[in-house]
Amino acid sequence: GAGVSQSPSNKVTEKGKDVELRCDPISGHTALYWYRQRLGQGLEFLIYFQGNSAPDKSGLPSDRFSAERTGESVSTLTIQRTQQEDSAVYLCASSVIASYTDTQYFGPGTRLTVL
């Protein structure tokens, strides 16, 4: 089947605007993760969803960042009032379950540029 997909692949926005990034996980995967990769940095965990449990938001850098997921399907990451430091590649990953032994499958990422 299809892998994890993300849209848009590229997004250029002006400082202060809101953006929405979308992730479609692999069908049947109950766990979904968002990571951020800034230039020259490793991947930074943002948030993850596991089934109907409350999401783990411990990695969100500020209250401008939020994410939603409906059931075990699509997730949307929203960044309000974007800042230049938000420029990064945003990666989504999914796994069958949220277990440390379970492989996370990554999407191609969304490259966000805030001017």
Partner: protein, 109 residues
């Protein structure tokens, strides 16, 4: 706090030479360690993980708890091994991965 360190940003080796990509971690418990790879124009994908004790594409990695290391090794590098490699750690009770900054491996013909 958990931390993964990859000291080399770039590693260049000749084809056929041995390669070792270094990874050190900081964690008080017994983490699970992973290596992810990103080839040019492809998405990030799992290469291997400690718990499976496997060899993938000729690569192996041994967890050394005394040195808190999980170095990735291959005895004979191939051109197709050129990619970005990320070491990652997972806490048993907390599944999001903690990544290092990555090492770009360049295999020269």
């Amino acid at each position: 706090a958990q931390r993964v360190t990859q000291p080399e940003k770039l590693l260049s080796v000749f084809k056929g030479a041995p390669v070792e990509l270094k990874c050190n971690y900081s964690y008080s418990g017994s983490p699970e360690l992973f290596w992810y790879v990103q080839y040019s124009r492809q998405r990030l994908q799992l290469l291997l993980r400690h718990i499976s004790r496997e060899s993938i594409k000729g690569f192996t990695a041994d967890l050394n708890k005394g040195e808190t290391s999980f170095h990735l090794k291959k005895p004979f590098a191939q051109e197709e091994d050129s990619a970005m490699y990320y070491c990652a750690l997972s806490d048993h009770g907390n599944t999001p991965l903690v990544f290092g900054k990555g090492t770009r491996l360049s295999v020269i013909a």
